[in-house]
Symmetry: C2
Subunit: 406 residues, 2 copies
């Protein structure tokens, strides 16, 4: 039995597994250490009461003849698709058709699966540092060549660092696909409409496709920052957008997201121009059976007035934590980025310390867990990610402890 | 932008889309026709009251600090994995480790995604007729060659028909993967342990892997019919098993399933023996974020005493419908298969009629919708599938109408 050699050849260890291992080892040796976690990007506040109750009502109704739902539409219920179009797009001047939105069980599966549409020899570009799923899912399909010294031989890296103000340049040569995530994970930085435009222009000129991950858009508070790439003219000809309820509404354990594939998007399949929307329909109806009905009811409740109000309270609480981290570290003389339109704060390690060394220092001396920048790609070395997804009390205490060991 | 040519080249139209289209066209022209649907394999009875209430409680608890759950384990919560091992395997003498069971959002995504582990040139065998997902997911990965006259050039078909009593022969040459589904979709037929054994022997001798889909095992009532392929000695060295709560517990709209990958399974990745279990772990942690927490609570409730009792009532009701279809058609002189350990009845079309012609006849003259056998593969021509997933009243009425037009 011959196996896919590319999955077998992937470099070992998903970043967060390595972090969990180091924390576990340290905790076992120091059972009294009160470790504060500002590492993984998981939310901690409960669901909106209203959203949870709507989900519970739909779940209970599944036990009645009137409320029962069997197979739903593969691409999602229209009540949810319409709520997304009305609330997440119309207010920003973006008009979408019902058939352009696909409901899924999250942005991670979506971006992981989307690459199935690309040719085996498509050239991929990612900003660096980057959310690992864009890279690993393409590596598993054999598109990235071999891995050496922390880099894939065929992957085009677009560095983001303090020197370029975390504004990546467009690729120099030809690429087929560019992954962008804004507000960015892991750096917490953003691009304005004007800074995004060169990417749209590049994609249109090069017949490339942008995969735009806007999972963190609920945290945007700066007016010049777009909530959707479709706010940039021409993006509907070259961009796919992924989003998720995970960070917007605390759905990390509920599982719901969506993907927008405009009908205008086409690509070449052995000489024929083919609609990406149709191609994704075919992929989805073959390998997916839709999202749990009570989960879709919960997602739609996010857009009801009461849902919106309660969700905003959580977003505000996380943004307040981000402010506490950012200002606390700045006051202590650190160089920090992000944390304004994002729950992530990206700090330069003190004295250009290696990011895993800084991780170990914080774990063992401050009992604080963050995420080493190097885990997100070569340009992440020398940086460190802290997340706002803890309680206010813990966030204040964590910052105090970090500052103490600097 | 170059696209995956194999998805674009897939023959158009998923079977059930074509059925829906014909029904829609007919209904539009005959708005008064009272059409009875015994076509698609969707359940109709509500969830067990107990299971729905447990799901609702978990959903409501997500709105509280104590009951909230963020990211769950990628491979599923142990409370559910343990319930599966204790209830679905131990009683049949099969012992599994917690790490050998992966919770998913259904058997369709599992069998659709599983082929990612296989080499691009792996040789695939399917029984014929067959559940289309096994074929289409491999076609999309470019493994099946070209499609001509209803057949894929590189796919190994194992015919199942009245002549061989729906007991397929093992492949004549070498194949890498064999998909088996028992109780079978679409034929409703089963294999005994003794009839399954040659496949296990073949797989061990040829270093092949069996993908065993047991989604319909809850309908088994005949003692010689195994509930798991692992009841056959040696299967833990060569078989992956998929199952689902969709038909067992009416979860078609709730979405939960599981896959068993024994640790003993290995394959060749460029000269190295690699564990399939580890490979699937890596695939899953990269592209999946686990199943909704309230859904996993609901799935576990299926195994509680009250859940079991209520679920059995639904299974019994569907089996009673299957009996009504089977006996009604037999009495009218039809040749029928399945419907004993399965919700599916597979009938020979009268007078060797083409299956789509018989579909049109039943739709237009009896106002009954079934599924043409040809939609499941070349050996399905001349057969027709009827499902037990309707009410008893509708089932009785549908059989009466079919018999009237024969």
């Amino acid at each position: 039995m011959k196996l896919n050699p590319y999955i077998a050849a992937l470099p070992a260890g998903y970043l967060f597994a390595e972090i969990a291992k180091r924390v576990k080892t340290y905790s076992a040796a120091h059972p009294d250490a009160d470790i504060l976690k500002l590492g993984i990007g998981d939310v901690t506040r409960p669901l909106s009461r209203y959203v949870a109750d709507e989900m519970a009502k739909a779940a209970a109704a599944m036990g009645t003849p009137e409320g029962f739902r069997g197979y739903g539409p593969d691409y999602g219920y229209e009540f949810l698709i319409n709520a997304i179009i009305e609330n997440d797009y119309k207010p920003y001047g973006v008009n979408l058709d019902v058939e352009e939105v696909f409901i899924s069980d999250g942005a991670k599966p979506d971006v992981g699966n989307l690459q199935e549409l690309f040719s085996p020899d498509a050239v991929i570009a990612v900003t660096d540092p980057v959310y690992p799923v864009y890279v690993d899912s393409n590596a598993m399909a054999g598109r990235l060549g071999h891995y050496e010294d922390g880099k894939w031989s065929k992957l085009c890296y677009l560095p983001c660092n303090a020197e370029n103000g975390f504004v990546p340049e467009v690729p120099k040569g030809h690429v087929d696909v560019i992954y962008l995530c804004y507000p960015n994970n892991p750096t917490g930085t953003v691009l304005t409409r004007e800074q995004l435009k060169p990417f749209v222009d590049y994609a249109r000129a090069h017949d490339a496709i942008i995969v735009y991950d806007s999972a963190y858009k609920a945290f945007i508070s700066t007016p010049q920052v777009p909530h959707s790439i479709y706010e940039v003219e021409g993006a509907d000809e070259c961009a796919i957008e992924c989003c998720s309820f995970s960070k917007t509404a605390g759905f990390t354990g509920v599982r719901c997201g969506y993907m927008v594939i405009p009908k205008k998007l086409t690509g070449d399949a052995e000489g024929k121009q083919v609609s990406l929307n149709k191609l994704w329909q075919r992929r989805t109806s073959t390998k997916f059976n839709g999202v749990s009905y009570p989960v879709q009811v919960a997602a739609a409740a996010v857009y009801a007035p009461q849902g919106k109000k309660e969700i905003q309270e959580s977003i505000d609480a996380y943004l307040e934590n981000a402010r506490i981290i950012r200002e606390g570290l700045e006051k202590a003389g650190c160089t920090v980025f992000g944390g304004v339109d994002s729950p992530y704060v990206w700090m330069k390690t003190p004295g250009d310390m290696k990011s895993w060394d800084f991780f170990d220092l914080l774990l063992t001396r401050a009992h604080v867990v963050g995420t080493p920048g190097e885990g997100f790609g070569p340009s992440g070395e020398g940086y460190f990610r802290l997340t706002a997804f803890n309680t206010k009390e813990n966030t204040i205490e964590a910052v105090k402890r970090i500052v103490d060991v600097l």
